[in-house]
Amino acid sequence: MSDAIKAATLEYATRLGDDALVLGHRISEWVSYGPFLEEDIAYANVSLDYVGRARMFYTYAAELAADGRTEDDFAYMRSDRDYHNLLLLEMPRGDFAYSQVRQLFADVYYSLVLPELVKSKDERLAAVAAKAIKETKYHVRRSRDWVHRLGEGTEESHKRTQKAVDQLWGYTHEMFDMDDTEQLLADNGIGVDVSKLRDQWHKDVSAILTEATITVPEDSWAVRGGRTGYHTENLGHMLTELQIVHRSHPGCQW
């Protein structure tokens, strides 16, 4: 592995880990707050899938970094300016519709990313993708079913779902951006060219939204910055909770 490729792969694994941890953490905020017990269980399941995925990416990143850091150093000892997750994933828990819509957007995204990543020339990334693909089929089905129920259910659930879609749409565009790092990896068959996934994502999501009687928004605004650590004001507060105990006891084991 050349130095450039190694550095890019380290950054890439970190990004994918950040995505998974931030989303997994957000979902975990629903536990004991769900509308009924089955949902607490289901959301905990999804959270476990994503946090587990984060651990695999971070573990690989730590090996690539080869500087003594562990998965926990990646998760707990980086500031939010160094986190490179997509902004969509750090948006707050919101109400149930908001979380499910964000989840739908993310799940459909990964249902397109992972089948590409599983072909990666990098065996480790491919292995993580292989494990994650199975879960993702379930995730998409679950999110899709929920958006259907909420979109078509009652006038109130429909309103909340439409509002969530309108509020979150602008955060989805950066999911398909490519920068030099990801371009280098895509060119070398290691990373996924996400710019090629936009149309399919739009098609898949639009089909689900339309069937749920939800209007697909225009692409009139877009907020970007996740991959360069330029976050919304949400991540700082999330990492505050996530990191406080670990940071309060530097160098300790848990």
């Binding site: 269980i41 476990l48 946090v51 651990r55 078509e152 105990v245 160098g251 848990w254």
Partner: protein, 314 residues
């Protein structure tokens, strides 16, 4: 004079045969088991809160995953127990209403706050530990669905108890601050864990009938003694100080003698002076009320789908 049904019922009980949902049972037996099972379910559900309080702050990814799994399992146990309880002719909605109104209780241990990460380990080790001692005994309870639920739940909870103990072990062998955290958690949860077994049997209102009907298989004090005995070496292995200065091996009894439990604290907490009594119910009610529109949406959606099915068939 016992009626034929009563006689048959007691014959089964005495022969260690399970009572199943379709069997005849005395009204008082049904009520007793409903009370115990539903409150057991409520405890699992309410117990998600003090532990859930630390999911976002779990200090390592592994601990985060383990804690998420634990809380998820508790939800599952609650679900399973609610379902098993419904076989007795009460609905989940009725049980939830009783919990939220305060007519049904949950284990008072969950009225205590989780103040540190150490408390997560202490709950896994001591609270789940006490629950397991109780649940192992309940594997032989007379009501079939309850007994089977206990067998299933015990398997999962043993895993979580070990995880909790292991989390505390790491603290106890860690930095001075970490060790202090572990000791502090042990100090705060030990006695309340002993109280989980309930009052001395002489003082317990429900005990006599429960024993006769083999809903309950062992006395509160016997179960408590088991727990005390198993916990002494566990505390030693952690290298922590035992919170009970009077703990002492009694060769004659073959058990540990122990100090008096502060039953005033027990009754004080269970009667409303705990740190979290109000919060646990308010949290449950708030989540339930906030989720009303979601449940309504599901109902409306299902109705629409069924109407369509009928339409398509017709």
């Amino acid at each position: 004079m016992m009626t034929p049904e009563e006689q048959n019922f007691m014959r089964k009980i005495n022969a260690e045969e399970k009572i199943e949902p379709k069997d005849w049972m005395p009204d008082a037996y049904r009520k007793n088991v409903i009370r115990q099972m539903s409150q057991h379910a409520h405890s699992e559900v309410i117990g998600m809160q003090p532990e859930g309080n630390w999911i976002t702050r779990a200090p390592s990814l592994r601990r985060k995953v383990v804690l998420l799994s634990k809380v998820q399992d508790e939800a599952g146990h609650g679900l399973y127990l609610y379902s098993a309880c419904e076989t007795l002719g009460i609905s989940r909605a009725e049980m939830i209403e009783a919990l939220q109104k305060g007519t049904a209780k949950y284990a008072s241990i969950f009225n205590y706050p989780t103040l540190t990460w150490g408390d997560v380990g202490a709950i896994g080790w001591l609270v789940d530990g006490a629950a397991i001692v109780n649940q192992v005994s309940l594997q032989r309870t007379s009501y079939g669905p309850y007994a089977r639920a206990m067998i299933r739940i015990c398997k999962e909870e043993s895993f979580h108890q070990r995880q909790g103990y292991e989390a505390l072990l790491v603290l106890a062998k860690g930095s001075p601050e970490q060790k202090q955290i572990a000791q502090d958690s042990l100090n705060r949860f030990y006695w309340p864990a002993l109280m989980m077994f309930g009052p001395h049997d002489a003082e317990s209102a429900h005990s006599a009938k429960s024993m006769q009907w083999k809903i309950k298989r062992e006395t509160n004090d016997d179960l408590r003694q088991k727990f005390i005995d198993q916990t002494v070496p566990q505390i030693e292995f952690l290298g922590l100080e035992h919170p009970d200065a009077a703990i002492k091996w009694n060769e004659e009894r073959g058990h540990y003698d122990h100090g008096d439990i502060d039953w005033e604290e027990f009754y004080s907490v269970i009667n409303g002076n705990g740190h979290c009594n109000r919060q646990r119910i308010e949290h449950h009610v708030a989540a339930h009320e906030e989720g009303a529109w979601v449940r309504d949406a599901i109902t409306a959606y299902n109705d629409k789908k069924n109407a369509n099915k009928v339409k398509n068939v017709a």
